[in-house]
Symmetry: C2
Subunit: 341 residues, 2 copies
């Protein structure tokens, strides 16, 4: 430990993902071992103490800077976010967010129930001043580059200023964390002209046009994966439907491939070759590959991951949390929202 | 010609598609030759007379029951629908719809500018009594069956009763034209519970629930291609974005395949095998394969097709138009909307 090092304390929801607590604990250890040299990392393992200790033992009790924070309850994927927030205050999710609220942790990381993380964080930590609504984005694999689509489900009914704030926050995140200078923002619509779209989009277009963002205008559904935009802004209803639709294409192809393969042996061989390639490409829609995504607009650093997160994904989420704290993403959002409004 | 035969007069927009007038004329001839035995078919070829005559000559002046209706102007894909309606009254599109209005044709078929067909038909022919908004659907290739998604772009801002009418009209079309008894209707949302979605969907859910349709509840983006629903109802903004997004997946896969192929000769061979299969499956998103889709809710039979429609697609559009007239789809819609309201 170097005394000049900055120290970051990250809380992880050990009970969160589909493979909890194993992947969460392995991911925490990996993050600790792979952290940048110039920082110190302290990890709060939030969850059932006996389970965590048992798991650590099975992993040979590796040495790393951690502290177990016992949480008696677990919020499952099936729990209603609002009910969970009200009735499961001893859950790992609630207690993890609370560690951030109390200033004991710098950030919280969870591969658990996204809706519950959103609801709990919004209530316990509040929004960054001036932000209309917090948002969740997701990275889509584009032809030219990864595309950060937001919102993908946090807000199903939106107003123009919500979409505007999503664009501002997304731009800052890509700039600070991915190092993209002046990220290009597209507004999802059903025609390129500024008069095209639903009333939400038509009004949002005007807000974005006079902002100091790098606004590329409207883009259509067919452009999401193909345009040179870094960010695509849409309401959370549309964003969530596209994200889930995209994930289902692989299922469609698999089924169609099977029909085709059943027709002849040659076809079968062809498919045996094709399927892994297609899988490979389409699995990029799964956001765990990006090591989670931030909950933007919340007064605190929260990184959420896919339920199926691997230990590598968990590691990346933790390191992304560290980076978000270090680079003061939230402070930048506060300033940008103030300057733009 | 059998004197007991019913006679149908179908107008076709010869200038409409990307391969006009060739595909349109070849399609008309195919439709004539492949029509059911118990009907007589008369085709109005609406467009530039000299071009049509030249094309017919090049095709060897085949014999079939047609009449050329000269139209001096052409509405292109780039024309604004409202401007076109106002300023291009001598276009093949306008004159074709007008033939239906005048009772000279039973139906109109176009692979031209969809927005212009919609605007012109709505203004010239009006809506079926009781219908809130006309709608355009599209067939998506599902794992179990084809899925009729509507609306896919005719209405970008919707109210609950619009979506309700889409469900009623879609159900009748599938029943009468595809012979699907009691088609299953899903409502596109971002959660299965009836409380999930945006306010439009939450209200629509209640309308559909108490209707006499075969309502299966909410379905999510991932279910569109996978559920056992025959119909998926959504607003035209969402529907259009998904449709175009789906069409772009092939472009993404091609690009990713290329990257992969460039890495080694073996990869190149693998891709050579994979791509045609993937293409085959994903091209099903292209609605020309279904021989066009109806403009539902209009006081008249209008079938629209993809700009890239082949002559086979044009043939199918004409035969579908005949069937829609014969089976009195619009009369059924009138009755159903009255009964349900």
């Amino acid at each position: 430990m170097n005394k000049d090092n900055k120290k970051y304390k990250i809380a992880i929801d050990v009970m969160g993902g589909d493979f909890a607590p194993l992947n969460e604990i392995k991911g925490a250890i990996r993050a600790y071992n792979n952290k940048p040299e110039n920082i110190d990392l302290q990890i709060f393992l939030v969850g059932k103490k006996d389970l965590i200790e048992k798991q650590l033992k099975e992993l040979g009790n590796p040495e790393f800077a951690y502290e177990i924070v016992h949480a008696d309850e677990v919020i499952t994927m099936k729990d209603d976010p609002t009910d969970a927030l009200k009735n499961k205050k001893n859950s790992s999710l609630y207690m993890g967010v609370d560690l951030v609220k109390e200033g004991k942790a710098d950030a919280f990381v969870s591969a658990g129930n996204t809706g519950a993380v959103l609801a709990t964080s919004t209530v316990l930590l509040g929004r960054i001043e001036g932000v209309s609504r917090p948002t969740i984005g997701s990275f889509f694999p584009g032809v030219q580059k990864s595309v950060f689509v937001l919102d993908v489900g946090a807000n199903s009914d939106c107003k123009p200023n919500f979409l505007y704030d999503f664009a501002v926050m997304g731009s800052i995140y890509l700039k600070k964390i991915l190092g993209i200078d002046n990220p290009k923002v597209g507004l999802l619509s059903i025609g390129e002209e500024e008069s095209k779209g639903n009333s939400l989009v038509i009004e949002t277009h005007q807000l974005l046009k006079k902002s100091n963002l790098n606004f590329a205008g409207n883009i259509e559904g067919r452009d999401i994966l193909i345009s040179d935009c870094d960010i695509v802004v849409c309401d959370g209803f549309v964003g969530n439907i596209i994200l889930k639709f995209a994930e289902s294409i692989l299922t469609l192809l698999k089924a169609k491939f099977k029909d085709y393969a059943d027709k002849s042996l040659v076809n079968k061989l062809k498919i045996g070759v094709s399927l892994p390639t297609v899988k490979n490409v389409l699995s990029d829609f799964d956001y765990q590959n990006y090591g989670g995504v931030p909950l933007l607009g919340i007064n605190g650093v929260i990184i959420i991951g896919h339920g199926k997160s691997s230990d590598l994904a968990i590691q990346n989420m933790i390191l992304k949390a560290v980076e978000s704290v270090e680079k003061e993403v939230n402070k930048e959002i506060l300033i940008a929202i103030k300057n733009n409004s």
